[in-house]
């Protein structure tokens, strides 16, 4: 009888224990994350895309192309007025000093009536990444698997943009960051200009997000009991 009593007690306790040990299931949801602009854009209406110190490239005028792509990005994806001006050279001094040259940036601000000025550095490299790769082959005759080496031609492209932003009224540096991207393509003789556009496109959201609030789509797990 005592055993029976204990069984009854155990029977009553079981649901409580089960509830405590609940098994959960995950549901993946997409959420829009409000991401504020990275700089204070109060009072900014006109933006000047200034000069970029860029290395030489045999087929692409990097400084001009980056200037054009940035103007295009900001013109399409922001509400600011983008000043249509040819790229201007950075002051003849090391970049670290040029970005602290408030007098220069202020002068540009006054000359173009710009509230914000962009400038920076740009590096674009292409490298031959051709080489032997190992691959597994199944023989059509014997059905046996064997490994062989094969020569593959590839080209790797890499860009690195140091982006600086200055307030036109004071010449003060308000933002600096580096944006790097790269990709490898099969074959040789890939069009460098197309690759440059492709790599710049990848950083579009990040660049626009400096001056505009954005929403970012991400996934998270909601859990259910």
């Amino acid at each position: 009888m005592l055993r029976r009593a204990l069984l009854i007690v155990a029977g009553l306790a079981a649901p409580a224990i089960m509830a405590g040990a609940g098994v959960c299931i995950a549901v993946e949801v997409r959420i829009e994350l409000p991401s504020p602009a990275r700089i204070d854009t109060t009072g900014i209406k006109r933006i000047l895309v200034g000069g970029f110190r860029a290395g030489d490239h045999p087929t692409v005028d990097l400084g001009r192309e980056v200037n054009r792509l940035l103007r295009d990005m900001l013109g399409k994806d922001t509400d600011f007025e983008i000043i249509n001006a040819e790229p201007l050279p950075l002051p003849e001094q090391p970049v670290e000093e040029a970005v602290r040259n408030t007098a220069y940036w202020k002068r540009l601000g006054t000359r173009f009536n710009a509230d914000l000025i962009l400038g920076g550095t740009f590096e674009f490299e292409e490298r031959d990444e051709s080489g032997f790769v190992q691959e597994d082959i199944i023989s059509e005759l014997t059905g046996q698997r064997y490994r062989r080496s094969r020569w593959v031609e590839r080209e790797a492209f890499k860009m690195d943009m140091g982006l600086y932003m200055f307030r036109g009224t004071s010449g003060e540096l308000v933002f600096e960051d580096h944006f790097a991207e790269g990709n490898t393509f099969p074959g040789k003789g890939n069009d460098a200009l197309s690759v440059l556009h492709d790599l710049m496109e990848r950083i579009r959201e990040n660049v626009v997000g400096i001056v505009m609030p954005r929403t970012r789509l991400e996934t998270r797990y909601l859990l259910t009991e």
Binding site: M1, L2, R4, A5, I8, V9, L12, A13, P15, A16, A19, G22, C24, A26, V27, V29, I31, E32, L33, P34, S35, P36, A37, R38, I39, R216, E218, T219, R220, Y221, L222, L223, T224, E225
Partner: protein, 125 residues
């Protein structure tokens, strides 16, 4: 004699049952209400009604402060509303309650990666 002998055992059984019922009943009611809030919050969240979801998850967390699931979901809902400091705290709480849960770990990892990109002073709009 038999009846007299059985009586204490029957009483003991009944007493134990009553005791268990008294102990578990209020807890079960609270748990159940918390679960209702949690489930409703999830429904709202999957419909994109994050404000309502936050209210439900907050209520569920007050009713049952030991449930990692609730705090995880609350963190996700806070994120959706841009209440990032609160999201960070809720993830920390969820992981303190269930440190080995990989999905909460993954959520927190993704959140912290996003959080790191935010400018200072913009975490709680």
């Amino acid at each position: 004699m038999k009846r007299v002998g059985q009586s204490p055992l029957t009483c003991l059984t009944l007493l134990a049952a009553l005791l268990m019922a008294a102990l578990t009943q209020p807890l079960a009611v609270v748990k159940s209400e918390a679960s209702v809030q949690l489930e409703f919050g999830i429904k709202m969240a999957t419909k994109g009604l994050w404000r309502e979801a936050v209210l439900r998850f907050e209520k569920a967390s007050r009713l049952d402060s030991g449930n990692a699931v609730t705090f995880n979901n609350l963190a996700v809902a806070y994120e959706s509303l841009g209440r990032f400091d609160q999201a960070r705290e809720a993830y920390a709480k969820a992981l303190s309650l269930s440190p080995s849960d990989r999905r909460i770990q993954e959520n927190q990892k993704r959140f912290l990666a996003f959080f790191a990109t935010l400018p200072r002073g913009s975490h709680a709009p």
